[in-house]
Amino acid sequence: MFKKLLFATTASPTCDNAAKVAFDLELKWDAKLIILHVFGVPSRGYSPFVTDARTGEAEEPDADYADWVKEEMKNTYGELLEDSENSVIEAVVGAPHREILRMARKEKVDMIIMGAHTRQEDVGATRYRAIAGSTMQKVAKAARCPVVIISRPCTTCWKLFSNIVIGLDFSKASQYAFLWAYKLAKEVGARLHIFHACDISSGNFGEIQGQNEIEQEIAAARKKIETTYISKMKGYDNYDIEIWEGIPYVEILKFSREKQGDLIVMAHHTRDIEPEQALLGSTVEQVVLRAACPVASVNHPDKVADMDV
């Protein structure tokens, strides 16, 4: 299922957790792993300078400089590279999200792996900032392949891979996310936990939904899941459906914790709009930061094109 993986890294400790997962996946799937680091000063065009991570000084990048960066990356990931069988290190200059997407398209990768932040920060500090890293947001929004975001150490998830949680919001992208999660669950023999949260926080101001109304909503959502999604599974019975009411990101985190999810799969946004125009939904951002396991965001049908969409 994964023949080529792209690990986009800042080559700093913030990506260490993601690095472990990326190298694990390479071995588990016998895939080719491209380790990509993008460096450069943000500018409107091609930047003639880069900022050296160690000294903070502006440097002019050339072929020698890029080789030196690759050498440094080899040192950073030395231990992980020892066990690696099929990985290449790439270092390029440019705007990170553009170069990551360019590389993903050129190499036709099956999955991009990233950390959630570009800087090591206290969780308190993320509160009033753009919550997730902006590069991650831009990549996740536009990538044609699934993007897996890892924000904390995960020792078991990919090796003892047994519970996949798919959070549905009934958008079109959500269908692609579902098909990808199903494909993955079938491939690794994992249980697929199909989850939807009825959002009871977004009613009109001051209006409180009655229990009957909520229960009707839950029943309707269950019916929709059964007709729209379950019918696509063609005899696969290792799944369960759960619908909870509440604030979606709180509920999906609780659900994943309860089911000991090894991976949460979600579409990017909560509204049914064109993926190119959709910002990473706030639900996904909140889940990415808080989830104990990796979160995969799927926005395009490319990697499930062989399935009956």
Binding site: V123, R129, T156, C157
Partner: protein, 176 residues
């Protein structure tokens, strides 16, 4: 600013009188912590003042996890105590200059601060909880941080702690 004292048993006192359970006027009051205050005392407060549960989306979930923990001896040797502090951070580059103010709950061991998201709630509940200072960070220089005395109101205290606890939930097998 009116001062309230949060007691170890979860009750809140203002001018030596216990605050009634449905009071929201105390949210803006300056917080003092009573003798022997721990994270468990924080959760006991929600049992006495149930209206406060509605202040944040994660309170109910945190309380549920608290109820699943043992009734005592929830401590860990890796930290000396928990500290709640405020940070004012000026940020200049990259991006537009901006000023951010936020609260953090962290573990303290000697002079070192430790993130609590990787510890389990059941190892933190009986750790002493103290109020810290205001840390002033200028343009990302986290080495020369200025520190000032400050006060916290009840809303900041509740919201800051719950925000931090919402990041917990690492499975035990991942914490090995």
């Amino acid at each position: 600013m009116n001062q309230i004292t949060l007691q170890n048993d979860g009750s809140i006192f203002e001018s030596n009188k216990m605050v009634p359970g449905d009071s929201l006027m105390i949210l803006g009051c300056q917080v003092e912590l009573g003798q022997g205050y721990t994270l468990r005392s924080f959760f006991r407060m929600f049992e006495k003042y149930t209206l406060l549960v509605k202040l944040d989306a994660f309170v109910a979930d945190c309380i549920q996890r608290y109820r699943e923990c043992p009734k005592g001896h929830c401590t860990i040797n890796d930290i000396d105590h928990l500290e709640f502090y405020k940070t004012v951070e000026m940020i200049g580059f990259p991006g537009e200059p901006r000023l951010e103010i936020y609260h953090t709950l962290c573990g303290v061991r000697g002079a070192e601060t430790l993130e609590i998201k990787l510890f389990h709630l059941e190892s933190l509940l009986d750790m002493p909880l103290k109020l810290g200072v205001l840390k002033h960070v200028i343009f990302g220089d986290k080495v020369d941080v200025f520190e000032f005395d400050t006060v916290f109101n009840l809303f900041e205290f509740i919201e800051g702690i719950i925000w931090e606890l919402s990041f917990q939930g690492t499975p035990k097998e991942c914490a090995l």
